[in-house]
């Protein structure tokens, strides 16, 4: 059981990280390192696409919380995408996920980003 992370720049200032496998006490540093790299670019939005994530422990939640804290300092946003039921359950128990931060499909996210884009440019 391991964790792999793909990252890409979705548009200007919007980065997406896609962890795959298990995000647990052993594997969380892999994601944490990638987050640190991306955050150096100061993105205004960081999307975690959880579609391929099977498992998350509290250490995994911390990585996301840490990214959120860093970005909040300059009004950046963390967005979660495609939460599997078992992942959703973990966030539900901790009850710390504002609903506007979660999107269930890529289309929903794209719509949101479009609107954000117009706000910034217009």
């Amino acid at each position: 059981m391991n964790l792999t992370v793909k990252s890409k720049q979705k548009m200007d200032g919007v980065y997406m990280l896609s962890p795959s496998g298990r995000l647990d006490t052993n594997t969380f540093p892999i994601l944490e390192d990638r987050v640190d790299v991306v955050l150096q670019e100061k993105p205004h939005t960081l999307v975690f696409d959880m579609e391929m994530l099977d498992y998350i422990s509290s250490m995994g939640v911390r990585v996301i919380a840490k990214a959120q804290k860093t970005m909040k300092a300059y009004n950046g946003r963390v967005i979660l995408l495609n939460l599997q039921p078992q992942i959703q359950k973990v966030f539900d128990i901790i009850k710390a996920l504002p609903s506007q931060q979660v999107f269930s499909t890529m289309e929903e996210l794209d719509d949101y980003l479009d609107r954000m884009q117009r706000q910034f440019t217009g």
Binding site: N26, S57, M59, V61, R62, I64, V90, I93, A96
Partner: protein, 690 residues
Amino acid sequence: MEIRTRSYFLLLILCLLSAIAASAADQRIIVGLHDNTPLIFTDTDSRVKGIAVDILTHIARKEGWDIQYRPGSYAQCTRRLETGAIDLLPGMAMSAQLEDKFTFGKETIVANWGQLYISSDATFSDILDFHEKDVAVVEADIYFQFFETILDKFEIRPRFIMVDSYGKVLSMVHEKTVSAGIVPRLYGAYYEKRFRVRQSPISFRPTELRFAVAKGRNASIVNSLDGHLKQLKENPNSIFYQSLDLWTQGVRKVTLPLWLRPLWVLGIITGVMGLIVVGNIILRKQVKLRTEALKTTIAEKEKIESELAVAREIQLQLLPGIFPAVPNRKEFDIYASLEPAREVGGDFYDFFFIDRNSLCIVIGDVSGKGVPAALFMAMTKTMIKAAARLLVEPEYILADVNREIARNNPSLTFVTVFLGVLDLNSGGLTYTCAGHNPQLFIGQRGNTVLLGDAQCPAIGLDDAFQYRQATAHLRHKDGLLLFTDGVTEAQNDKNRLFTQESLMNTVALTADVTPKERVMAILSQIREFTGSRPLDDDMTLLALTYFSPNRIGDTHKTIVLMNDIREMSRIIDAITHIADSVSCPPVVVHDVTLAMEEIFSNIVFYGFGDDLDHHITLHLVIEGDALILTLQDEGIPFNPLNVQIGPRDKPLEERDKGGMGITLAKNLMDQMEYRRERGKNILRMEKRYR
């Protein structure tokens, strides 16, 4: 010709007969109706009423007359009577000149006279005062004519205001547009309340109102009327006087039945009220007395009940009542239930270790019920436990207890006991049945066998009784069911017994369940059988399932881990293995794994406070429908259940992160228990998978 004459004659007779028959059946009498309230008049409901009408109706019923009224003015009526257009006129004032034309009845219906009315608040001093005052009159009225003539003689000349009805006269008097008015006294009596006028002392020209017919006609009618009137006048309760009362006492007056007369009503009401008051006082006194008596009784009863409740609590505390009873021993699972018929009862059960591998199980029933039986039960139970520790073999244990009790038992109370000793290594069972009904051996598929050997006498009757024992062998997942006769002899409303056969049938349906579930199933079956009927006898059940140590590995695993987070993979393997053996759903495996990771990582990172190597033990076991994980470590005393997550309304990044993992674990598992024992943190976690 002759025949024809005859037939004419017959026809004539027939006509005559029918005419006679008709007249005999119903003699029609047409009565003149002029408004002369209250003698005869048409009321607002357009029905003909009055004194004369009441009398006529009464007489007509007796005589078989058919009365028909023909309305008209007084003048019209007299003319019609003269011409024969009407047969009878009631209430004609008798006078000499009229007797030429009419025949009057001999009996007066009622006497009438003229009456001067004044307003109810006016004062009347003298008739002389009426000179040149306004007085309302009806022009054609005989009383007015008489009055005018008289006054004229005294040269008193009021201004007479002519109106066309007596009603108008009284209404003018009431409105004070005139000083006084003249009406007949009967009319005045009937209406004075309605018009709120009153009689002056002036009355004049008395007349006798009688029935009148035309001279030479209908004399028989007048005669009949006279006859009846005479009779009616002789009887003070007759319709004549009732009618007179009714019509001369005013328009608002309603004749009430005797029991409704005001005085009577008042009397009755007073009487009833008096009765109520007296009854109330008596009742209150009684209620007070009874309430006090009841209070005393209730207080006494409550005292006894509270004492019995305490006794029951003590009695139940004597029995091992916490289940699972010995969770660290995987060789058996046990469950027991005692339901006393009264507050306290004579049944008991017990189980305890004689040595590390020998489990003693006991069930007993003291003869009798209630407090005495409960006391005897407590003594017996204690003695058995004491004897078992020393003597080990069932036959010796019970022989010893029997000797002790029988030596000093003047009441001859006895106890039936089944006592077994189970070797947890081999599954060998040694048992003695002292006067108790044979108990049940339960095979893995729910099949039952009676443990009927080693039947010995009950304990307590004779110290010379001999006891012996028999053996049986329990294989993996075989079980025992111990019970008292309260179970097999539980009765329903029709006094039928539950029976041993029903018990065995119920047990047969409980293959592959835990002892607790087996006992619950039997109890619910018995409750269904007995329905609403309360228990007649104590009802006790003890169920045990044996697990052979050689076979326990299937659902029982212990791994020893290092304090290294990489050991998580071994934990995951162990969870997956044991979960597969009972087909746990994947979501359960996920939750248990995640909870274990949170707890285990917590111990690894914070549990020891040094960098040395430590061992952490994990037991995994399936118990019933639950997966039980027990973690033991020798680290710093730490109860994770006391850890609170940071305020939940705060954003995630501002939380106290230490509590997050433990909160996750607590929520993912169904139950978590922590205890510190012999320098170890012991955390038991339970997750149901079905």
